[in-house]
Amino acid sequence: MSSQLTIQQVTTLLKQVIDPELMVNIVDLGLVYDVIIKEEKKAIQIVMTLTSSGCPLGDMIIQDITQVLGEQFKEYSTDVHLVWEPAWDPDMMTEEGKAALDGF
């Protein structure tokens, strides 16, 4: 019997997904609003936003998330749900994110 997936495990993996323009991962940028794990359906849902609605890298980031989670958690499907409310604000970044952005 396999152990249950935790939000912590998913979030840690999501830190591998980098915004190529800002060179900071999406978790520290504050783009990930929620991680929902549906064990009964073997599904992971990521509720997230982008830094701006016209962000030209949107589907690349979504593809990256699906790829990274899919490779690690093969028995789960991944669904990325993009939302614009609440709109992303720099205050949503973690301290690590702000420090990383300063470095570039």
Binding site: P20, E21, L22, M23, T51, S52, S53, G54, C55, P56, L57, G58, D59, M60, I62, Q63, D64, Q67, V68, E71, L82, W84, W88, D89, P90, M93, K98, L101, D102, G103, F104
Partner: protein, 426 residues
């Protein structure tokens, strides 16, 4: 699924040819500066300068702007480009029209060749305008950025129609206003109405995005839009009717409008989260400093000379050079590093994420080369500018030489980006 700009992005092969041809024309322009410095020390209505100017504004600036706009429409308007085929028709017409016009001006052929060139240029511009108009119709999003872009295209059409009218008037004079004054009207509509307004529209969307700036007050942009467009309409009337007070008034209105835009940029810069500027943004900051400098040149013109007299010739050439080379050209070169690598990167690495380590878009070009390019550009432009003011041909040639080195470095990096191939991971 949500509207995503990258899903709406056109094929790179619609965008990339504009950058390649544009870059080569910019190299050609710098070579012509080196070999024909005398064209910058005479009255601006001379065949060589007319030819060089049109190569610069059509073959380089408009060419790259068309290409970039096809990529940026999905970002600014959040819709797909209406037609890629029409974009290629517009591109081909622009190449043929520009080359033919430049050759005709150079040899001062004012007959059939200039009208064939005008036909191709009108076709290119009208097809482009139709394509953007149809794309904008699909966009539900209303914004001041979109309004700037739409208005700039109206001015582009006006500029080309005015240019064709000028060509007809040159062969068979039918307008009572002196030809030189009509030329100012044509240049004003093109530089302020088309280039500057389009740049304001695009950069007010991209600069906050690249600098990660939020909550910037857009009232300044709305004020800028009203001042610039009211000023432009009045300036066209004043120049046509030779009303000098009107010319002064409208220059002040346009300058104030540009000033409001620069204040908007200043706020973006101050509130930015991304503190360090990459090479693309450094070049962009340099170019906006050049725009600010151009405002001083205009003030100098207003205070010291009669705007409608021939005494303004060298300052007029210096001003137009500052706007077209110092400002627009350096901004295009800077923003190339912010857009072109992403276009190629998205194309090459789509579907390869997670399979192997992939480079970042900024790794597709040499940063060392782009730094050198900026250095030679800044040095070259300053020397070139001094040469124009001093009416000194050798100084212009030396400035042109540094600009040429800069243009070659830019083309090298552009080709390096365009020719980048993702390694075979399998």
């Amino acid at each position: 699924m949500q509207h995503l700009a990258s899903q709406n992005a056109p094929s790179p092969w619609v965008v990339v040819p504009h950058f390649i041809v544009g870059g080569l024309v910019w190299v050609l322009v710098t070579l012509l500066i080196i070999t024909h410095p005398d064209s910058f020390t005479q009255h601006y209505f001379n065949p060589q300068l007319l030819s060089i100017t049109h190569l610069l504004v059509l073959g380089w600036i408009t060419m790259v702007i068309f290409g970039a706009l096809y990529q940026l429409i999905p970002v600014v308007m959040e819709v797909k480009l209406y037609s890629e085929k029409l974009a290629m028709v517009s591109f081909a017409s622009l190449v043929v029209g520009t080359l033919l016009l430049a050759i005709s001006f150079w040899n001062f052929w004012l007959g059939i060749s200039i009208f064939i060139a005008a036909f191709f240029l009108l076709t290119s511009v009208l097809v482009f305008a139709f394509n953007v108009y149809k794309s904008a119709l699909k966009s539900e999003k209303e914004s001041i950025e979109k309004k700037f872009i739409k208005t700039s295209i109206v001015w582009l059409v006006f500029t080309v129609v005015a240019g064709v009218t000028l060509a007809i008037n040159l062969t068979q004079a039918f307008l009572s206003t002196p030809h030189i004054e009509l030329l100012k009207l044509h240049a004003n509509a093109g530089i302020v109405g088309w280039f500057i307004q389009l740049i304001i529209g695009i950069s007010s969307r991209l600069i906050p995005m690249f600098m990660v700036t939020h909550n910037v007050d857009k009232t300044k942009l709305k004020t800028a839009h009203s001042l610039i467009n009211t000023g432009l309409v009045l300036s066209i009337l004043s120049l046509y009717l030779q009303w000098q007070a009107g010319v002064y008034l409208t220059v002040l209105m346009i300058l104030s409008g540009i000033g409001f835009f620069l204040f908007f940029l200043r706020e973006c810069y101050k509130k930015r989260i991304k503190k360090q500027l990459d090479i693309g943004m450094k070049q962009s900051v340099f170019s906006f400093a050049m725009l600010f400098f151009a405002l001083f040149v205009v003030f100098f013109l207003l205070i010291t000379t009669d705007l409608l007299s021939a005494l303004t010739v060298r300052f007029s050439i210096a001003l137009v050079s500052t706007l077209l080379i110092g400002f627009v050209t350096s901004l295009i070169m800077g923003q190339t590093y912010k857009t072109l690598p992403f276009i190629i990167w998205l194309h090459q690495y789509r579907g390869r994420i997670g399979k192997s380590d992939i480079p970042f878009p900024r790794e597709l070009y040499s940063e060392k080369v782009s730094n050198l390019q900026l250095f030679f550009f800044a040095l070259g432009f300053i020397i070139f500018f001094i040469g124009i003011l001093a009416l000194h041909e050798l100084t212009i040639t030396i400035g042109g030489l540094f600009l040429f080195i800069s243009s070659v470095l830019y083309s090298y990096n552009t080709l390096k980006i365009v020719l980048h191939k993702a390694p075979d991971y399998e």
